[in-house]
Amino acid sequence: MNTPLAGIILVVLSSAIEGFAQVCLKKSAVLSVRKREWLALGIVLFVFEALLYSGALQSLDISTAYPLGALSFVAVTLFSRWLLRETIDLKRWLGLGLIVCGAALVAGQP
């Protein structure tokens, strides 16, 4: 498992988990039933994501792993659209693109 590819897959996976964890928190915030269950699931997923990401850092250079972490913004937006039926207008898509590029640049090594 100690190849960079495995590390990259772990980072992508942890970004996807972050997206789903945020959806769980959102559901807990707005639903009137099962608020505690969604909150608990969200927190468990965040902890799991942190462990996965730490695992990825062992096989991946920080200068690769940190910029890839910006993918979590993409995951959150896609899951918000698919699972929460939020409307993503053009401004939001463009903003997302800029944020992902910017976050990747900031998080990368100089």
Binding site: L31, L57, T77, K91, R92, G102, P110
Partner: protein, 137 residues
Amino acid sequence: MKIDFSSRRMLIFGIALATILDTVGQLLWKYCVAGLPSDAGLSQAAWGVLHQPLFIVLAVVFLLQLFNWMKVLEHADLSFAQPITSLSYVTVLVLSAFLFGEHIGATKVAGVLCVLGGVWLVSQSESHSEHNPGVRS
């Protein structure tokens, strides 16, 4: 304690607070980790952080962050509020330069400008989807 983020002003306050708490959490984490020997493994690092007195503060910050974030999500789209908290990339970078003497090169400055532009664009979109109670039941 009743806190309502339904007004635009309170929503902005909530998202700003989320960004600030995120920044403080990350910097505290960095500070805790920086005190560890550089050859420490993952489990040693985690153990070391847990034994820092500052860890209590860090835990409190995380709890506040969660509580505040749940309040924000009651009134804003997830795809609106979450991208805006990417401002913490900017604040962490700037504060790291001040506190830890980290160097900010041209690439990072370009990144900061992209993040700021992106956040501005997202903030121009509607904070809450119309005809949308938030989720499918």
